[in-house]
């Protein structure tokens, strides 16, 4: 353990106590300026912009340097960023955005609607990996004035603003036209030395070590940012990363890299704060079923397996009691659409009966059939979950074996070769189910591409519901359709939802407002301050 002097400890605790007492008044004061926040990155980013890839490290950097048109608040509703106002036409086809007047690029040029137009038409729609999931709905995107910008859609698309606000889903931060025009956006040197409009300016990228950003003195939002410097340090080894955090060498571990077995200890340690919010992505841990398997293709077998698995134990032992049991294919914090009504109870007796009924009686050795459970190394809780599932399945006579692969091999086996029986996988389900749920389970998504319908699930009725729901802009009516979809998915079981991955970020207690929005791990740190 780190040993500060006795006096420092006393001073620190009394300051904390005072802070707790002062409460609202302390918050009413403007946070002080200055200080450096050091954030851990799990790997070297591929670039420092968000238009090329969807890797977390790149987003964690890019969101500090760039702005989006809109962002999302805690309830996943759009809030202003570069767009200060917007209107949606009554037919749901025309979105008009009015940009702030005073935004400038880090090189001093003004941010205008022409930049927005160029970003969507010439960059995102052409090179972003997920553009195929929403760009086809767009009829046109054009600047109608220096600071006004209009999207016209081909048909109403309910999650349109959510899509724009979720940088993780769309990569939609606005890039400078004058830097990218006439170049290949994939190889432009500015991808590694970015010029943005955001709260922090790019300073240096020391390859393999860290990325340093400094305060943008001319930032267009008043009084922001508070911090002088942001350092994003590349720390790929989990054990070393945790030591660095405990020693106070880094100040922030985002939720994918906070080890759940240490959360309890961190919660009691006054040097740290746990920020348990900010998962717009509403990530579920699932077990995928391969619908091509000779026994798993039978829905009764899939349902029996769902009854055989003790998901409470997985939550308690694999996630050390953090998070929740997942009860549907939509996460519970996408509250407008989530329903727990079609969940399975843990009932081994029923599982045995259903397997008998499916004609898979136990042999003389007590076994019915064999399955392989695959998982990809890197997320230890998935491995522990797989072992619990193996034991649960053996209890009902299904001979399960667990195999682990490195991630590229796993993705290749599951999503390209379709050579698996059961597989552990995380899927996002938010910020809107059209964005995150439909691409996994629609029949047209049975494709040899990562994180789509490698399970081979196909139900024409579900497809019809998928194809209809996003045209419905009335939330309660749309929620009713999603209730039907969740009923079908839970009945047909393309995958069994196991747990909702708890969003737990860990930060040094010296900093405030490190996480303010629903995309806490990749959001801009413009509001963060040192106490």
């Amino acid at each position: 353990m780190f040993h500060p002097s006795r006096r420092a400890v006393l001073a620190g605790t009394s300051a904390l106590a005072l802070g707790a007492l002062a409460g609202p008044r302390a918050r009413a004061q403007a946070p002080r300026r200055g200080g450096s926040l050091i954030l851990a990155l799990e790997g070297e980013p591929t670039s420092l912009t968000s238009h090329l890839a969807t890797d977390t490290p790149a987003m964690m950097v890019a969101n500090n340097i760039f702005n989006a048109l809109v962002l999302l608040d805690e309830k996943l509703q759009p809030i202003p960023d570069l767009a200060q106002r917007w209107t949606v036409s009554p037919d749901g086809l025309t979105y008009t955005f009015e940009l702030v007047q005073n935004a400038t690029w880090h090189d001093g040029k003004p941010v205008t609607a022409a930049d927005v137009e160029y970003t969507f038409n010439e960059i995102l729609s052409k090179v972003h990996p997920r553009a195929g999931s929403w760009w086809p709905n767009v009829a046109s995107a054009r600047a109608t004035g220096t600071h006004t910008f209009v999207f016209t859609l081909k048909a109403p698309f309910a999650p349109f603003l959510t899509m724009l606000g979720s940088v993780l889903s769309s990569g939609a931060t606005i890039l400078p036209k004058h830097i990218y025009e006439g170049t290949d956006p994939r190889t432009n040197p500015a991808n590694a030395r970015p010029i943005g409009s955001g709260a922090f300016r790019f300073q240096r990228w020391q390859r393999g070590s860290h990325i340093e950003l400094v305060r943008n003195e001319r930032y267009w939002k008043p009084n922001r940012p508070y911090l002088d410097r942001l350092v994003l340090q590349v720390l790929p080894d989990p054990a070393a990363r945790l030591l660095a955090f405990e020693r106070g060498e880094v100040d922030f571990l985002h939720w994918y890299i906070v080890p759940y077995d240490r959360v309890g200890q961190m919660r009691r340690d006054p040097r740290f704060q746990l920020l348990e919010k900010g998962d717009a992505a509403a990530t579920n841990g699932l077990m995928l079923y391969n619908h091509r398997h000779q026994h798993l293709r039978d829905v009764r077998v899939r349902q029996a397996i769902a009854h055989a698995i003790n998901r409470q134990t997985i939550r308690d032992r694999a996630l050390f009691g953090e998070g929740k049991v997942a009860q549907s294919h939509i996460g519970s914090n996408v509250a407008a659409y989530f329903t727990p009504d079609f969940d399975y109870a843990f009932d081994p007796a029923k599982a045995n009966a259903m397997l008998d009924e499916a004609g898979l009686r136990r042999g003389s050795d007590g076994r019915r059939f064999a399955v392989r459970i695959f998982w990809a190394s890197g997320r230890d809780y998935e491995g522990r979950g797989a072992e619990i599932i193996r034991d649960n399945l053996r209890d009902v006579g299904v001979e399960a074996t667990v195999q682990v692969f490195d991630r590229p091999s796993f993705i290749d086996r599951v999503f390209r070769q379709w050579d698996f029986d059961l597989a552990m996988q995380l899927f996002t389900t938010g910020p809107d189910p059209t964005i995150s749920v439909t691409p996994r389970y629609h029949t047209r998504q049975i494709q040899r591409a990562p994180f789509v319908n490698g399970m081979g699930y196909s139900n024409p009725e579900t497809d019809r519901l998928f194809d209809a729901e996003y045209r419905e802009t009335d939330v309660p009516k749309r929620a009713a359709v999603w209730r039907d979809i969740q009923r079908n998915l839970m009945r047909d079981l393309p995958a069994l939802p196991l747990f909702e991955l708890p969003p737990i970020h860990a930060a040094s207690a010296k900093f405030g407002d490190v996480v303010t929005g629903p995309q806490g791990y990749i959001q801009s740190r413009e509001d963060a301050y040192q106490r």
């Binding site: 195929g132 860290h210 590349v234 720390l235 070393a240 060498e249 590229p408 691409p439 040899r448 789509v452």
Partner: protein, 321 residues
């Protein structure tokens, strides 16, 4: 001598070719698709996957890809990283100084300290000190690098807080000039020790055995009988003879150390080539992997030539033609 060096380097050319050939097909035989890794953690369309694959030339038959690669390498072009969209050579050169600094220091420390301790231990074989150091050396020799690294971190960085846990610089308070040198030195202590232990043990053991043999020879007895001071007998007369095989082992160590850099640099978050290699494997970044293997094999070949040259300088009996 120059002619000899040139000839040795020329002989290495077919070797490098074979290394490139084997590496290329081995790397491509590993399962996993770089495009899938490249696209990140979200879903995408197969059309997009195909397009990216086409753009990178990954849709071509393997032998076509190999021919293209060979053609480029002949013009000293190591290609473009799939992951970073930047020239591979630049990525490697960015990381090379950090690795050379760490490795050079570790190689020097392990060689010098290993030889000195070996020479001292050989003076009184089978004494308590000798047995003790032999046991310590055996332990060092058999300790896995990643485990030792973790233990060093927990003891010296976390509990005693003498050294930082990771990285090459202090990021909270960056310093310039002399302060920066001291900062890097402080960050180097734990990785250098971790890195050195195995090689130190090896060099120590070998020196000790060779010294013991040499110290039993007649010319040593003669020297002592002549009244040559003991320090001069050990470090000039005996060591000069005993150190010959040790030089060869140090040359070999260089190659092993390059391999070991993957583990050490990952445990200590050291921004060198070993980490780049580790990341490139995870991303199936073929051009970076190929570039690294080529550069690493060149370094090993050059290290061997240097070893031979040093050998000639130490051993006057060796004549080069």
């Amino acid at each position: 001598m120059l002619f000899y060096v040139a000839r040795r380097l020329a002989q290495a050319v077919p070797l490098v070719f074979v290394i490139i050939l084997i590496n290329f097909f081995l790397i491509h035989a590993a399962p996993g698709d770089p495009v899938f890794v490249l696209l990140g953690s979200m879903d995408t369309t197969p059309e997009f996957v195909e397009r990216v694959r086409r753009e990178f030339g990954l849709d071509q038959p393997l032998w076509v890809q190999f021919a293209t690669y060979l053609g480029k390498i002949l013009s000293l072009d190591l290609g473009y990283s799939l992951r970073f969209q930047e020239p591979v050579l630049g990525l490697i050169l960015d990381r090379l100084p950090a690795t050379l600094l760490l490795m050079g220091t570790a190689l020097t420390v392990s060689s010098v300290v290993g030889i000195l301790l070996g020479a001292i231990a050989a003076r009184r074989p089978y004494s308590v000190t000798d047995h003790a150091s032999t046991i310590v050396a055996l332990a060092g020799y058999s300790m896995p690098v990643f485990w030792l690294g973790q233990i060093m971190l927990i003891v010296f960085a976390l509990h005693l807080a003498w050294f930082p846990t990771q990285g090459m610089y202090s990021l909270r308070a960056p310093s310039e000039g002399w302060g920066r040198v001291m900062d890097i030195a402080r960050h180097m202590v734990l990785p250098v020790i971790t890195y050195s232990v195995y090689h130190l043990a090896l060099v120590y053991r070998l020196t000790r055995v060779k010294m013991q043999e040499t110290l039993a020879l007649d010319f040593i007895t003669t020297a002592r009988a002549k009244g040559v001071p003991e320090g001069r007998v050990v470090f000039v007369h005996a060591l000069r003879n005993a150190v010959l095989p040790v030089v060869t082992v140090i040359g070999l160590n260089f190659g092993f150390m390059l391999a070991g850099s993957v583990l050490t640099e990952t445990v200590f978050a050291w921004p060198g080539m070993g980490r780049l290699l580790f990341d490139a494997i995870g991303a199936r970044d073929y051009p970076v992997l190929m570039g690294l293997f080529t550069v690493l094999s060149l370094m090993v070949i050059i290290a061997n030539v240097i070893t031979d040259v040093i050998y000639a300088m130490v051993d006057p009996r060796v004549i080069y033609r």
